[in-house]
Each structure stands twice: as structure tokens, then as C-alpha cells.
């Protein structure tokens, strides 16, 4: 076991022993991300808070089972996504993770030359540059990204949040959400393509 994972096992042991400072540390580290993911399943902010609270009880109750085989963050996220999924189902709002069926194209088909063109399927006009990067990382732009993710179909929103916002790798996401790798990739692609599109529209106007 790596040092990091060994340290995390020690943290969980301290938590089980009732160490409040460790609890506060873990809440400040993971509480915000947990709330964000819960919110994508249940929508109501009050219910999302209840899911986070249930998840912490689940973490405490399950603490003897944390053996450092995955990172603590992965383990906690598996618990919060399960609690959120159960709660959403109870409210008649289960999240379909099937990526079957077609979605809108990643890019508006009008952006490409038509079949009668000499170069069908090629860009009809040049893509503008997004430089400088400061503009992209301005808080207003990030707020747009967050809003766009919040408006995606829930399964896409959850996958892009876990992968790109929280930085989990594909295996961890498939494991936590119990979906196949190919399904995960389709959902991620649809989500990223839509966020890119929203950014393009926003940056073009600015």
C-alpha cells in the first residue's frame, strides 16, 4: 500500500475513534464535492444536503471496511453516489445511465460544408482562437461552465463532474456508477462537446 493510502487508513481509524478534528478536515476536503454530485441527482438543495449527511453516516458505518484499496475520495464518492441514487429513485427521479440512442451532434452540422461541396464534411469557416487563457478562466466563464454542466442530462452531468471537475479516472467513475467503460466515454463525450459549444458561443460574443 502506498504511503498516501496508508495515511488515509489512519485517518479513517481516527475518525472511527471519534476524532473531531479529523472529521472536520474530511468534511472541508470532500464536503463541497459531495454536495455538488448529490445536487446533480436530486436537484433540491435541501435534499442534496440530506444526502450528504446520510453519506457521512454511511462513511462512519462503513469505516471498518475501508482498507485503502482505493483512495479515500473514491471510496467516499462511491458512498455518496449510492445514497444519492437511492434517494433520487425514491423521489421517482432515477437517473438513466444508458447511453443508447442518439444525441445531438457534437458540433452544429451547419458548421461543416455540405455534400455538394468540393470538401464535404470540412469546416465551413475557421475556428476562432480562445486565447488568451485568462479569459477562459475568468470567474464569469467558469460560472457559465458550471451552469452548462448543471443543465445537462443528469447522467452526462454526473460523468463530466466526476471525470473533469473532480479528476477521477475512467475506472473509478465506472466503478462508482456501475457503468461500462464505453458507456462512460459516450456520456463524457456528449457532455464535453456541449460544454465546449456553450463556451464557444459565450467567448464569440464577448
Amino acid at each position: 500500500m502506498s504511503q498516501v493510502l496508508a495515511d488515509e487508513v489512519a485517518l479513517v481509524e481516527a475518525l472511527r475513534a471519534g476524532d473531531e478534528s479529523v472529521f472536520s478536515l474530511l468534511v472541508s476536503r470532500y464536503g463541497g464535492p459531495m454536495l455538488r454530485i448529490a445536487q446533480l441527482y436530486v436537484r433540491s438543495p435541501a435534499v442534496a444536503e440530506e444526502v450528504v449527511q446520510d453519506a457521512w453516516i454511511g462513511v462512519l458505518n462503513g469505516s471498518t471496511r475501508f482498507e485503502g484499496r482505493s483512495s479515500l475520495k473514491t471510496w467516499i464518492f462511491r458512498i455518496v453516489t449510492n445514497k444519492a441514487k437511492t434517494r433520487a429513485a425514491k423521489e421517482g427521479r432515477s437517473v438513466p445511465f444508458s447511453a443508447l440512442g442518439t444525441d445531438e451532434p457534437s458540433v452544429d452540422p451547419d458548421r461543416f460544408r455540405g455534400p455538394e461541396d468540393r470538401y464535404p464534411g470540412h469546416w465551413a469557416s475557421a475556428l476562432p482562437s480562445w486565447a488568451p487563457e485568462e479569459r477562459l478562466l475568468a470567474s464569469e466563464t467558469l460560472a457559465l461552465v458550471e451552469k452548462t454542466i448543471g443543465g445537462l442530462p443528469p447522467a452526462q452531468a454526473i460523468v463530466i463532474t466526476m471525470r473533469d471537475v473532480e479528476g477521477f479516472d475512467a475506472d473509478e467513475v465506472c466503478d462508482a456508477l456501475e457503468i461500462s467503460e464505453a458507456n462512460q466515454r459516450v456520456l463524457l463525450h456528449r457532455a464535453r462537446s456541449k460544454v465546449r459549444r456553450a463556451l464557444e458561443e459565450y467567448l464569440d460574443e464577448a
Binding site: 472511527r16 473531531e20 472529521f23 472536520s24 468534511v27 464536503g31 463541497g32 464535492p33 454536495l35 455538488r36 445536487q39 444536503e49 450528504v52 449527511q53 457521512w56 453516516i57 462512519l60 458505518n61 471498518t64 451532434p105 457534437s106 458540433v107 452540422p109 461543416f112 464535404p120 464534411g121 470540412h122 469546416w123 475557421a126 475556428l127 482562437s129 480562445w130 487563457e133 477562459l136 478562466l137 466563464t141 467558469l142 461552465v145 458550471e146 454542466i149 463530466i160 473533469d164 471537475v165 479528476g167 475512467a170 466515454r185 463524457l188 463525450h189 464535453r192 462537446s193 460544454v195 465546449r196 463556451l199 464557444e200
Partner: protein, 83 residues
Amino acid sequence: MKPETELTCAELVELVTDYLEGQLPEGDRRRFDEHLAICGDCRAYVEQMRLTIDAAERLPDPELSSELEQRLLDAFRGWRSPS
């Protein structure tokens, strides 16, 4: 290479995630790279997808309300190991 096996830009944009994830089969990956080598717009597109991922990574964590923090702390204090 036969022209009919070349990727169009419209096809490439649907493969970007598979490409960035390292999940394109070898032949497709080669065609993808060959297309990028000659198409500045598709290079710009792939760069935009990378920047989109960067922006998502930079989203600030939501803050927990102090009321929720207190509720969590109360729940922790009231929790007893089930064993």
C-alpha cells in the same frame, strides 16, 4: 492512403474523446493524427476540447453552509460505532 479512408472534420469531432482517452483503435488513431497534421481548424478544435476540460477542472468547490456543517458535526458526535 486511399482517399475514402480519410477522416472528415465532421467525423473527427465525434472521435475526439476516444482520441484523448487513448481508446481509438490503432488505424483510427493514425488517421486522426494524419488529419490533424494537415487541418489547423481541427487542431484548434482539439485544443478547445482540452481547454474545456481545463476550465471544468478549475471550478471552485461549492461551500457548505455553516448550518449544514453544524448538522454534520452533530451527527458525528451522535454517531456510535454499530459494532
